[in-house]
């Protein structure tokens, strides 16, 4: 643990065995990408001048399939992201990269305008129709995620919670805050049912995942430093930080330390939990509220890559099945392809849809009542690829608490 996980120290463990290549969904989809092994562990360490750039580096989606495939514990995808940041030290960012990296900034601007969300949603549908997105370098085939009329944090103040001695801080994540506040509301309901009062810390930034994958590493570092300091504050008060977004939880728990290697990042990470990981720990302690009603549903579960990477099993499936809330069948169809903002880029759209094809095919069999997935962008991708709208498993559990 700890210092061993810093990515730059893991590269030397690479044996060049090719396990990462055999499991890379991007390599399977496109032959321009030279693959995780060559880009991260090999080229990342072996290039000898600043100008020596491996261009195909921009194909990596940071889905982390390579990290999971690696038998030697090399943080392959993070090495790729560090290389990407090096690349942008010498190269200008494109406009769409800037946009996709800064969703949080954009959302804040929009929230400051009266009816900002409504107008920007109209603007986005006009933008899509007129081909403006495409001209900007965004995937014109996609709908941009629509803003909720009220963000989760704004609506949160109106949620009536009974004060409780047990408290947790919810790290909302940008997507849930701005686009799917109903997931946040379900989260609050579930945690309340389990005797926890939910707090919001307005001082948190975006976790930084969209910044890391677009090479804005310095900015990501600022987000990390701010978030880590706040998480440590909460840790000192004995209050855990819990998030229903799997990419946020992975970033806070693991990637900060892999990328930047500061000891405090690891210390803060110990106070961070993914939502169902937290509920499963309550269950193990005998503190989980078992008073749930069966919903008699059959769910198809797409397990996000960034949940698989956390090595916490499948706590959502465990809890929903253990208390007979629903039957959960895993989709077992690999990466959905969108990988955060990757599939929103015009030049990556086709790759992203090709990667997701197996999952779309599975979902289209429609032998279930609902699709569930813990990750917001996975849910968007499944919706886009199948026209079937998935929900977060916490929405299912919230329904089971009558």
């Amino acid at each position: 643990m700890s210092d061993n996980t810093k990515a730059i120290f893991t590269g030397d463990r690479c044996l060049s065995c090719t396990s990462c290549m055999a499991n890379c969904p991007v390599m399977a989809a496109v032959k321009e990408y030279r693959g995780p092994k060559l880009v991260g562990p090999a080229h990342g360490r072996m290039h000898f001048s600043q100008e020596d750039i491996e261009e195909s580096l921009n194909y990596c989606s940071n889905c982390k399939s390579c990290d999971r495939a690696c038998p030697s514990g090399v943080a392959v995808s993070t090495l790729n992201m560090l290389q990407r940041a090096e690349y942008y030290k010498k190269h200008e960012h494109l406009r769409h990269e800037d946009m996709l990296a800064h969703g949080e900034r954009m959302a804040k601007l929009i929230r400051m305008m009266p009816f900002g969300a409504t107008f920007s949603n109209i603007g986005m549908s006009i933008g899509k129709t007129l081909g403006i997105f495409s001209a900007l370098g965004l995937a014109g085939e996609r709908n941009m995620p629509a803003y909720a009329s009220t963000s989760f944090k704004d609506g949160f103040k109106r949620i009536k919670q009974a004060p409780a001695s047990k408290k947790l801080v919810m790290f909302t994540g940008c997507f849930i805050n701005d686009n799917e506040p109903q997931v946040g509301q379900a989260f609050v309901k579930v945690m309340n049912a389990n005797g926890y009062e939910v707090l919001i810390d307005e001082g948190f930034n975006c976790c930084g995942s969209p910044l890391v994958v677009t090479g804005f590493l310095d900015e990501a570092r600022q987000h990390a430093d701010n978030n880590v300091a706040r998480i440590l504050d909460w840790k000192r008060k004995g209050i855990p930080v819990v998030t229903p977004c799997t990419s946020c939880s992975l970033m806070l728990k693991e990637e900060y330390h892999e990328l930047f290697g500061e000891h405090e990042m690891h210390e803060a990470a110990q106070n961070v939990y993914d939502a169902f990981e937290f509920l499963e720990i309550l269950q193990e302690r005998g503190e989980f509220n078992e008073n749930v009603k069966p919903l008699n549903q059959k769910l198809l579960y797409h397990v996000p890559c960034h949940l698989k990477s956390q090595a916490i099993g499948l706590p959502a499936q465990n809890i929903l099945e253990e208390y007979k809330v629903a039957k959960v069948q895993t989709a077992d169809a690999g990466c959905c392809g969108i990988s955060g903002n990757y599939g929103f880029r015009k030049d990556k759209y086709e790759i992203s849809m090709k990667i997701g094809a197996k999952l779309f095919e599975r979902v289209k069999q429609q032998d279930f009542d609902k699709v569930i997935s813990d990750c917001g962008t996975c849910r968007m991708q499944i919706h886009h690829g199948t026209n079937i709208k998935p929900v977060h498993p916490i929405e299912i559990l919230a329904k089971a608490y009558a």
Binding site: M1, K31, G313
Partner: protein
């Protein structure tokens, strides 16, 4: 968290096999892996023992050999089970325990295995009139002329011809067999057309690198049905499509039989009470997680996969349960200078000793844990590479551990 009937630690050939056999017996199974296991790096052929008749030679091995603990019933059961799992994924395997089926390697030598994917079974090669060796433009590490030169040493009288096909794979990275296999999937017709143009007859053979897809035998069937000559695939450098096909066949079986499969899950220790293992502990980035079980099968591999480690000389360790590890003492006995000589390598015989149920024992032969079973490459007492027994020991020890 629900207690699993069986937890298997390790996702190589032995781990996948142990999980599959356990699941076939209506057990609830959790498979924990760290890394994607050996199969994407493996040829897909399963060797049992390097002898004219492996079945007979195995029966003459000393009592300390893993095969002696495993027994013939588990060996036979394993062969049948593996072939069934593969067949269910449209991946026909040929062979039996006593077989020595020739396979053409990527450099044109022949290697002999007991169980071989049908696509690689070169038994009939000797009887063929003319052999076409076909390389693909842009595909690296496959040289038809070298293969012909080497095959001529086995078949001096045979007629060979080489060909180089352009399947439009150029552009982008250097193509491996895995890449070619993925590019060929659902796009077999250009290859079929090119092979037809060779005018190879019904008595001829065509040798190709293993590029017929990474799932089952679908791509090969699509081409073979249009070509009169029999097509053989060779082995190749990793990532290896034939190994990936076998891995996918297992994964499909595990999915269909409700096995819980968790990646990136590094098991760091067991939870034990006296002589009973209650579960295993997985280390995540920030905390530990316990997976409870009634039975644990340890398929973590040998030195190459971290199932055994040696940080200090002469002190090999098994890092999860700290099991006693057998090894040949004294630096002189660790290795012989001839890496590929006619004697086993001492260090390769390092491993765990077990009773007849594959439960780990101490130096006096006492069973250490009643419900822990050791399978695959971390079993001690033989040099599996020298004997060419690694695959056979992996699947038959897994079968035994899952069925005792």
């Amino acid at each position: 968290m629900r207690t699993s009937d069986v937890i298997v630690v390790g996702g190589g050939l032995a781990g996948l096999m142990a999980a599959a056999v356990s699941a076939s017996r209506k057990q609830s199974v959790t498979l924990l892996t760290f890394g994607s296991g050996s199969l994407p790096l493996a040829s897909g052929a399963i060797d049992f023992f390097n002898a004219d008749n492996p079945e007979v030679a195995i029966k003459q091995l000393p009592d300390t050999h893993p095969y002696a603990k495993i027994g013939s019933k588990a060996r036979d059961g394993a062969v049948k089970f593996l072939c069934d799992v593969a067949a269910q994924a449209n991946l026909p395997y040929n062979g039996r325990l006593s077989a020595q089926i020739p396979v053409v390697t990527a450099v044109g030598t022949l290697k002999y295995s007991a169980l071989v994917p049908e696509s690689m079974d070169a038994s009939k090669l000797a009887a063929k009139q003319k052999v076409f060796v076909v390389e693909i433009k842009g595909l690296k590490d496959f040289y038809a002329s070298m293969i012909v030169d080497n095959l001529k040493k086995y078949f001096p009288a045979k007629q060979f011809e080489t060909a180089k096909l352009d399947l439009k794979f150029l552009g982008g990275r250097d193509i491996t067999c895995m890449d070619a296999a993925q590019l060929l999937t659902d796009n077999e017709q250009p290859l079929a057309n090119e092979l037809k143009a060779l005018n190879a007859g019904g008595d001829d053979a065509i040798i190709l690198p293993p590029i017929f897809g990474i799932a089952g035998n679908f791509s090969r069937s699509a081409v073979q049905t249009q070509v009169r000559a029999e097509i053989f695939e060779t082995t190749c450098l990793p990532p290896s499509p034939p190994g990936m096909r076998l891995q996918r066949a297992f994964m499909k079986y595990l999915q269909n039989n409700g096995v819980k499969f968790f990646e990136n899950s590094k098991v760091i220790r067991g939870v034990v009470e006296g002589k009973t293992v209650k579960g295993v502990v997985v280390e995540t980035a920030v905390r530990e997680k316990t997976f409870p079980a009634r039975k644990v099968i340890l398929a973590t591999g040998g030195f190459y996969s971290g199932g055994l480690t040696m940080r200090e000389f002469d002190k090999p360790r098994e890092p999860i349960f700290d099991l006693p590890v057998f090894f040949p003492e004294g630096a002189d006995n660790w290795s012989n200078v001839q890496l590929f000589g006619d004697k086993p390598q001492g260090f390769s015989t390092t491993g765990i000793f077990t009773d007849d149920s594959l439960r780990p024992v101490d130096s006096s032969g006492n069973v250490l844990f009643d419900n822990l079973h050791v399978v695959g490459a971390n079993l001690g007492g033989c040099d599996k590479i020298f004997e060419r027994s690694a695959g056979g020991i992996a699947i038959s020890s897994a079968y035994k551990a899952a069925t005792v």
